[in-house]
Every structure is written in structure tokens, then in C-alpha cells.
């Protein structure tokens, strides 16, 4: 029965519907995989097996009576960023260490309404601030992949490291994740999984712990492009409880998977050829271009001249929004409160200093600084104007092309405890160099595993689409997936 954990979401949902196995059996298989693997991989920070068994039993009844919904009986992992009613939700921060939401996030509610089963809450960087999962209060996640001939523990990426590792290690069929600067796509690339960040506003942010509200967007991490389309379909919805959620009809995302890309124009931005990027990544990019040409697409050179300014812009906008969003953690109404303190300001300061980790505090301070009197125009307003330029770059580029192809990350997975990155925050931030632009512009971006590097570690390609054109992104991604034939799995050590 353990083979059931290796199924794709699509195959599992089909198998359940045709009664080849029950949701109870499938759920037990995943529970077994989590019990065996999680002590080493640390992908789950909380398991909800009783709830999973109850949901599976309910799904089996529905399947028996012919009332199966889109995700009926499918066991999923949920990033700890999503508020789950009655189930501890911490965003992997000590400050929310015992928070039990009395409400459900819209995205997860949508999944339960479609019959999904919750296996537990997945590890992440604290408040989604990080690229290596090392800022989590619950400890880092270990990437299921290791370099050939090496025993070094690698990062699964971040912030959705738990989501990516759980999918790669067959500890769930698929997982929810979220992406503010690359937090779906970078971990997907590091673990040989697929991840898509849809257009800003496709999914409701209600009940997602806020990091940077104008950039945060929900999305799935899955084993295949088709699975991403399926899960994305259920995650997205218009929601009156999120005023930025878009009130427009959802296309049938799965119908775009496997569609011909003949005649589509693929933009290749020169500015994404960075100095110091491994030659293997350039080579993989060239290979991706070739695959799309072979599928009948036309390759167009484009220019996104403000690309190099995207990360610095992000590191003003995101911390500014974060410093405001995280002001709510004051130790008064919920979350950690420092003990044995009497004064109000002392309570605020000590509760927050004890509750927030180092990286979160650093970003709150950057955000506070760039919003403070005297610096607001020089930093914050300036960044908002450069953000406009970055968005205009894409608008101009999309006059000449239909989608854009780039590498997903500037390297493959690196070691946990990388001292250079720990010593210099900017080195860590550079992980998002290829992904952050789409968050600033609000565009859909998808990472697809495309090959292994010389160390035997996965590398991904990124497909960027026009606003609301996830469909074409999925079509391109499925061509890349087919051509790459990426079926490698990490060798099991856990």
C-alpha cells in the first residue's frame, strides 16, 4: 500500500473515484510516510491525523454515494501560514506559538469544500521571511535531495520549504504554499517539484498570515504541472473578505495542460543573464528554449531593463508592508506576552523582542526606517516609482511576446547553515533574483523541474505570463515538463 504515496494528485483523485483504493487507505499510507520521514525531514510542524482520518471517512462515504467533489479524499499538507480553524497556526513564529484560529482561511475552506483531507501544517520560514527555511521557530526543513556522494544536509529553499519537501518526499499528494518574492518557485526548483504563483488577486488572502500584502499570493506546490492546475483551481476564488481578490470568472486551468504552444512567442530577457551564475543554469535555459522551439513556439529577444532594481525595490516595499502588518503582534489580544513586565511600552517591546526571530526583527527595522520621517520619500516612494518601471517593463515586453522563459533560481539547493549567506543578508536575498519581479508586477510565475546539475540536484525553469493568463503559463510549463521528462526522485535516506 505504501506505493499509494507516490501517486500524483490527478491519479489519486481518479483512483479514489473509481474505487481502486479508499481515502482511508490513502490517508493511512501518508500517515505512515510522515511518521517514518518527518523526524528527519521536519516538513510538518503539526500533524492532524485524527482530523485526516475523520475527513477521509467522510470522503469515502461521499465516494460510495457518488457525491465525490474535485479533491474528494485527497490528503494534502497545509503551509502553516494558513489559518485553520481549531488547529494551531503559527506562521512558524514563536510570537504565535499557541495561536488557535477561531476561523478558517478562504483558501483552505475552498479545499475542504472540495473534499480535501488535511494531514497537517507545514514548516516555513518565520512569517515567510527567508529563502532557506532556517528562520522557522520550529527548526529548518531538510531537503530530501542530497548531492551525489555527499551526506551534507541541504536546504529545501524557502519560505515554503516544508511544502516543497513534503511533496518531494511523498509525505502528501500536494501542498498549499505562498509566494511573496519567490517562496513557492524557489523551493519547488530546489526539490524537483512544480509550483505556481498565480496573478495577484486570483486567490483570497483572507486568513493567510500577512507578510507584505501587496505581494503575498497563495499557490500550490505539486508533483506535476497538471496537479498544479487542479489544486490552483480549488484554491482560487473571489472573496468579499479580501478586497484585492478579483471578481472574475476562473478559467478551467487543467484544460490548458497539454495544449499546443505552436506559434506562441516566448520572450527571452537578456537582463536575466547574470554574472556569476553557474554555466549549467545558462545551459538549462538554452535547453528550455530549444524544447519550446521544437514544440513550434517562436523565440523572441526581449528587454526588461529594470530587472536589476527589482530586489532592492522589493527590500523596501516588503519590509515596509511587513513592519506595518506585524505591528499587530503586541502581546495584548493574542500571541506571546512577556511575563513579569508591568509598563505598557516595556510589555510591547519585550513581547515582540522575545517573540520575533532575528530576520523578522531585521526586516521590521528596515521597514520602519524606510517609512520614518525624512526617509519616506527617499526610500519608500522612490521604491514605489521603480516598482512602476518594473511593471511597465513587462507591459512593454508583452507587446512582443506571449510568455517569458527564465531560470527559476541562480543556483541549486545549498547547504543548511551556509555561513556566507548567514553573515550577509543580501547574499541570501539574491536567491529571489529571478522570481521577485513577478511579485512586484503582480504576474503569474511558475517553476518546473527541468533537469539535474552536475551534483545531481534539481534545477528549475520559470515561466512568466501576462496578468490573468495562467492558462498559457500552464501550457508552456507542460511542454517543458514533457520535454524534460523529469521523473527523478531523491534517493530515500529518511
Amino acid at each position: 500500500m505504501s506505493d499509494l504515496t507516490k501517486l500524483t494528485l490527478k491519479a489519486a483523485v481518479d483512483g479514489l473515484k473509481s474505487k481502486q483504493f479508499s481515502s482511508g487507505e490513502l490517508t493511512e499510507a501518508f500517515i505512515g510516510a510522515i511518521e517514518a520521514g518527518n523526524p528527519k525531514i521536519n516538513a510538518y510542524v503539526l500533524t492532524t491525523f485524527d482530523k485526516a482520518r475523520a475527513q477521509a471517512a467522510d470522503s469515502d462515504k461521499r465516494i460510495a454515494s457518488g457525491e465525490a467533489r474535485a479533491l474528494e479524499g485527497a490528503p494534502l499538507g497545509i503551509k502553516d501560514l494558513y489559518a485553520t480553524k481549531g488547529v494551531r497556526t503559527t506562521a512558524c513564529s514563536k510570537i504565535l506559538g499557541n495561536f488557535i484560529p477561531p476561523y478558517e482561511s478562504t483558501v483552505t475552506q475552498n479545499l475542504w469544500d472540495q473534499g480535501a483531507v488535511m494531514l497537517g501544517k507545514l514548516n516555513m520560514d518565520e512569517f515567510a521571511m527567508g529563502s532557506s527555511n532556517e528562520t522557522s521557530h520550529w527548526g529548518a526543513v531538510v531537503n530530501p535531495w542530497k548531492a551525489s556522494g555527499s551526506d551534507t544536509e541541504l536546504t529545501p529553499g524557502g519560505s515554503s520549504g516544508g511544502s516543497a519537501a513534503a511533496v518531494a518526499a511523498d509525505m502528501c499528494l500536494a501542498a498549499t504554499a505562498s509566494d511573496t518574492g519567490g517562496s513557492i518557485r524557489q523551493p519547488a526548483a530546489f526539490t524537483g517539484t512544480v509550483g505556481i504563483k498565480p496573478t495577484y488577486g486570483r486567490a483570497s488572502r483572507f486568513g493567510m498570515v500577512a507578510f507584505a500584502s501587496s505581494l503575498d499570493q497563495a499557490g500550490p506546490i505539486t508533483k506535476t504541472v497538471e496537479d498544479s492546475a487542479i489544486l490552483l483551481q480549488s484554491m482560487c476564488s473571489h472573496d468579499p473578505k479580501d478586497s484585492t481578490s478579483l471578481n472574475i470568472e476562473l478559467p478551467d486551468f487543467a484544460s490548458f495542460v497539454g495544449k499546443s504552444v505552436k506559434g506562441l512567442r516566448i520572450g527571452i530577457p537578456d537582463e536575466y543573464r547574470l554574472d556569476g551564475i553557474p554555466a549549467e543554469i545558462d545551459a538549462l535555459w538554452e535547453q528550455g528554449i530549444k524544447w519550446l522551439q521544437d514544440a513550434g513556439a517562436e523565440i523572441v529577444k526581449i528587454s526588461l531593463p529594470h530587472t536589476k532594481y527589482a530586489l532592492p525595490t522589493y527590500y523596501i516595499v516588503a519590509p515596509a508592508e511587513a513592519s506595518s502588518n506585524l505591528a499587530r503582534y503586541d502581546g495584548m489580544r493574542f500571541g506571546h506576552r512577556a511575563e513579569d513586565v508591568t509598563g505598557l511600552t516595556d510589555t510591547y517591546e519585550l513581547s515582540r523582542s522575545e517573540g520575533f526571530g532575528k530576520e523578522v526583527k531585521r526586516r521590521i527595522m528596515i521597514g520602519t526606517y524606510v517609512l520614518s520621517a525624512g526617509f519616506y520619500d527617499a526610500y519608500y516612494v522612490k521604491a514605489l516609482k521603480v516598482r512602476r518601471r518594473i511593471a511597465e517593463d513587462f507591459t512593454n515586453a508583452f507587446n512582443a511576446c506571449d510568455v517569458i522563459l527564465t531560470p527559476a533560481t541562480p543556483s541549486s539547493a545549498f547547504a543548511l547553515g551556509d555561513t556566507a549567506k548567514a553573515a550577509d543578508p543580501v547574499q541570501m536575498y539574491l536567491n529571489d533574483v529571478f522570481t521577485v519581479t513577478t511579485n512586484l508586477a503582480g504576474l503569474p510565475g511558475m517553476s518546473v523541474p527541468a533537469g539535474l546539475d552536475s551534483k545531481g540536484l534539481p534545477l528549475g525553469l520559470q515561466v512568466i505570463g501576462k496578468a490573468l493568463d495562467e492558462g498559457t503559463v500552464l501550457s508552456i510549463a507542460s511542454v517543458l515538463e514533457q520535454a524534460a521528462g523529469f521523473t527523478q526522485k531523491p534517493s530515500k535516506w529518511w
Binding site: S214, T244, I366, V426
Partner: protein
């Protein structure tokens, strides 16, 4: 414009954070590193650019002015560090 230890202290206090004195020096270094890297934005000509505040241009939606939620005192205080009779207990604010 380098950030010194005094500025770090001020920003920490504006952020309602308290950093140990021995951490201030290294924080100043880290913040200077990040802000120095951000300085490159000054190369960009933004003279005619409008600040971009949202990723997708949509008008803020209006809803009917009706009560749609409420009467959830127990839920609201369920995660509070200290409560009495449905109220939050907070440190003394006025001396």
C-alpha cells in the same frame, strides 16, 4: 547616509523592539549593508513615474452598510494572554 548605533536604537524603539546593547553594533552593520545595496535605486530616472501601490488596478469594492458579523466575544478573546469576563487584560496605561 550611514546608520550609527544611536539610529539603530531609535529605529528599534519606533519598531517597538528592544535589542541588547551588544547586538546594536552588528545590526548597524547589517542595516547599512542592506541600505547601501538599496542605494542603487538612485540610478533610476523616475521623474514621471507614478508610485505603484497595488499590483492590479482595481477600484476598492464597496459593500452594503450592514452588520455581517459579530457576537463572537468568546472567539475574539480565545487567544488572549489574559482576559476577565470577555475583556482583554492589559498593562496599566495611565499612571
Amino acid at each position: 547616509m550611514a546608520i550609527d548605533v544611536a539610529t539603530v536604537k531609535k529605529v528599534a524603539s519606533l519598531s517597538r523592539l528592544r535589542e541588547a546593547d551588544e547586538r546594536l553594533e552588528s545590526l548597524a552593520g547589517e542595516l547599512n549593508g542592506i541600505l547601501g545595496w538599496i542605494e542603487q535605486l538612485n540610478e533610476v530616472d523616475v521623474s514621471d513615474a507614478q508610485p505603484m501601490t497595488s499590483a492590479v488596478e482595481v477600484a476598492a469594492p464597496l459593500r452594503d452598510d450592514v452588520v455581517s458579523d459579530g457576537n463572537k466575544v468568546a472567539d475574539v478573546v480565545s487567544n488572549a494572554p489574559k482576559t476577565v469576563d470577555g475583556f482583554f487584560v492589559v498593562p496599566k496605561v495611565v499612571e
